[in-house]
Symmetry: C2
Subunit: 356 residues, 2 copies
């Protein structure tokens, strides 16, 4: 039975980098992987084509797909849109919510070949391998009420940070299971000394931990977590946290590796359907120049094969091919340094293809 993969290139460097990832998917298909590819528009591209960052057609195709590969969304030309519900980011947030992609997996891995790229001392980050599990369909991103309104003669802006027990339990179980497959250490990040919503978070994590006696659960306040990631990141194995804290900490953790152009991510729902995208953004400043790093997107394909298509062997082939091109010294501009060979986006994609 053929699996449907929807490609959503999006904005900025999105089209360039997804094109390279599609090359790999097509190679796998021609070698026997049973997949069907289609393409859709999202973000600014969706707005420009259909007047909405998540066109109905795209949403329908996304619901029907077994997995989605997304490039990136956003760009300065849409930042001035007065109606916030039309901004590119809403396309991404809409997909997450509509498909109930509650579990966002963001690995922060230091590739030994790229150790120099990190701004941290080698001994602090060598061998770094953290998995951040971020709740993606709740919390302050989606909480109601929200808005800007006049009160007592002035504007007031407000958002609501809200989680129910079942939302916390769901992401908690995903994180515990992830920890079971890794080093059996789970750190839950909250601000339980100040925020009630995260007191409930902590309580639920404690309660469900009884079902995972092989996993060691710890709790950390978010400010301390932001510090510890800088001080001694290797103390972490799996980290679980809410949508907002996860947004901040996963980006911080990604940057510890110095090569955010290398980091993929997965967003999964309860049925295993998933959306896969690079951790980096749409980088409008370098779009169209053919210099963006396609490896995070190519590695996102590997995650897709592993988590949504149950094709771990194909995933490993891709990851190995990426390792080979790094060993060969090929580098896009973002990860290049003296002694390596600087290549373009498509040269990098072709090199991975050749090693595949």
């Amino acid at each position: 039975m053929s699996r449907n993969i929807l490609i959503l290139p999006g904005d900025g460097i999105g089209p360039e980098i997804t094109a390279e990832a599609v090359k790999i998917l097509e190679a796998a298909r021609s070698e026997g992987l049973d997949i069907t590819l289609s393409e859709g528009k999202v973000g600014g591209a969706g707005y420009d084509a259909a007047g909405h960052p998540l066109p109905a057609e795209t949403l329908e195709a996304a619901k029907a797909a077994d997995a989605i590969l997304l490039g990136a969304v956003g760009g300065p030309q849409w930042d001035k849109l007065g109606d916030i519900s039309l901004r590119p980011e809403r396309g991404l947030l809409g997909l997450r919510k509509e498909l109930e992609l509650f579990a966002n997996l963001r690995p922060a891995i230091l590739y030994p070949q790229l150790a120099e790229a990190s701004s941290l001392k080698p001994e602090v980050v060598s061998g770094l391998d953290i998995m951040i599990v971020r709740e993606l369909t709740g919390g302050i991103y989606f909480g109601q009420p929200r808005g800007i309104e006049r009160r007592d003669g002035q504007q007031v802006g407000y958002n609501t940070y809200v989680y129910s027990e079942s939302e916390i339990e769901r992401i908690g179980r995903t994180a515990f299971e992830m920890a079971q497959k890794r080093n059996k250490k789970l750190c839950s990040v909250d601000k339980a000394n100040v925020l009630e919503v995260t007191m409930l978070w902590r309580d639920v994590m404690e309660r469900i931990s009884a079902d995972y006696p092989d996993v060691e659960l710890s709790h950390m306040y978010v400010d301390n977590a932001a510090m510890q990631l800088v001080r001694a990141p290797k103390q972490f194995d799996v980290v679980v946290t809410g949508n907002m804290f996860g947004d901040i900490l996963s980006d911080e953790a990604a940057m510890l590796t110095g090569s955010i152009g290398m980091l993929p991510s997965a967003s999964l729902n309860a049925g295993g359907q998933g959306m896969y995208e690079p951790c980096h953004g749409s980088a409008p400043d370098i779009a169209g120049q053919g210099i963006a790093n396609p490896l995070a997107t190519i590695l996102s394909v590997a995650m897709m094969l592993r988590y949504s298509l149950n094709e771990a062997a194909w995933a490993e082939r891709i990851e190995k091919a990426v390792g080979v091109v790094l060993d060969e010294g090929l580098r896009t501009a973002d990860i290049a340094y003296a002694g390596t060979r600087k290549v373009s986006t498509s040269e990098m994609g072709d090199a991975v293809l050749a090693a595949f």
Copy 2:
């Protein structure tokens, strides 16, 4: 006219480190600085003595003081208190709110003598000098409604992230004025692509920027700021942000220096009254051992002299004395490394006193 300084040692290492700072204040007084010192209880110490983390007596003394020196609050023995309003942190939050200490100034400075302590590469952090201006009496820390309640058969936790125009404008002006005194670059951090409350934040910052034409204002999303602090922290001069983001980013920035035991902070109200405290916490694990670093607290006294007492010359004397002991190679355990002389809390305090 004598200025009243209230000393609130608090919990954990608080009493040890404030004792060293008081030595310096007393030396200054004996040399002619016109101050009166008194002491009070706050946090867990307040709870143990008077059944509340902010005893009425302490609040009254705080209101009457020209400035407050606080050690730190919190410890595991109070974490189990069922009634959250009695936890040590509430003493701190209560002081901030009651005294309207809306402007929290958190410098992240790398002392050249301590460059080795950073987990970042020397070239990334050498000369680092960032000032984070955090709003301290609003945002999600104090927003209503908040709580945990049953809805549809399950517990739901919620907090409210709220800012009014006037709250944003007040902290914005503080930050612009700070930038005018420094390198005239202000970065406002928000999540305006997702949260309405921070769209208002961004709009207000834009609006008031017209009054500070000499300051270059930029905006950054909080996830990107968390990354940029790791990647290239020296791009920042003054950073302004809300209470929650400020909590996270100021701790991250502090840790870039590797010596959080060195960093003071000030929390000011509109009248210039202020509370001064080290950036680090109560460190219950090392309390009572005489090994904590008193320098952040001593440097908090310098900030107090500068910002609340208008005694910049005395502040400089303290800062110079700290520089001298660092040059001499004296180090408490947290900043010690091979080739330096490890000293106790009181030895460090005495050394600063001798150099004062």
